[in-house]
């Protein structure tokens, strides 16, 4: 069974203090790894898809990287508006629409001004 573990559960940073969020996964064959951002009371918002080990994607202060066993979401010089829960999900190889996303429990990030 596919598994996704995210750590730490919660992270408190000072504004400008860079850090990384970890997502470890076990999957029979990785089709894609996804990062989402979820604000309180809202649905998950898609950030990135990573396909293969060594790949990196960037968006503003966020950079996602992927190895064969884990992914990191690096946050550079975070601002209070980066405070949210960050979710990691994997899609295993499957037959088209049978491929579902398996989510981790998320990392709640708080950035203090």
């Amino acid at each position: 069974e596919d598994q996704v573990t995210q750590s730490p559960e919660a992270l408190r940073l000072q504004e400008g203090e860079s850090s990384s969020l970890n997502c470890s996964y076990t999957v029979s064959g990785l089709r894609g790894l996804f990062w989402y951002r979820q604000d309180p009371g809202k649905g998950p918002e898609f950030l990135f898809t990573l396909y293969s080990a060594g790949e990196e994607k960037e968006k503003e202060r966020l950079k996602a990287t992927l190895t064969k066993k884990e992914s990191f979401l690096h946050i550079t010089a975070p601002k209070p508006e980066d405070s949210a829960t960050y979710l990691c999900a994997v899609q295993a190889f499957g037959t088209g629409a049978n491929s579902k996303l398996t989510f981790g429990k998320g990392i709640t990030l708080s950035v203090r001004p």
Partner: protein
């Protein structure tokens, strides 16, 4: 302009009642999903429909019945609601891009059963 919209946003109801949640997507995607997020914020898939056909049914009690009248709509009907059904339910949709399916989510429906 909302890509995936679901109604209602909040639903408070008594045990034993039957309720429905509606979802619509205007992204032209071919697959729609229902996910459940429990009190610990864990998101778990319940169902998926591809072009109106049920594809995934993840050991959900048969009190939950999804219905897809067309590929842009997926509704969730719940019979005989129980306290344990209280959660946030998210609708999502996706499109196959070379076998990869990034899901796009609605804003959620917070169901509270009292």
């Amino acid at each position: 302009d909302t890509a995936v919209s679901q109604t209602p946003k909040y639903l408070v109801t008594q045990m034993g009642n039957d309720k429905s949640i509606k979802c619509e997507q205007n992204l032209g995607h071919d697959t729609m999903y229902w996910y459940k997020q429990d009190s610990k914020k864990f998101l778990k898939i319940m169902f998926s429909y591809n072009n109106k056909e049920l594809i995934i049914n993840e050991t959900v009690p048969n009190r939950f019945s999804p219905k897809s009248p067309d590929k842009a709509h997926l509704n969730l009907h719940i019979n005989s609601l129980e306290l344990g059904d209280s959660a946030v339910y998210f609708c999502a949709s996706s499109q196959d891009l070379g076998g990869v399916r990034a899901a796009f989510f609605g804003q959620g429906t917070r169901l509270t059963v009292v």
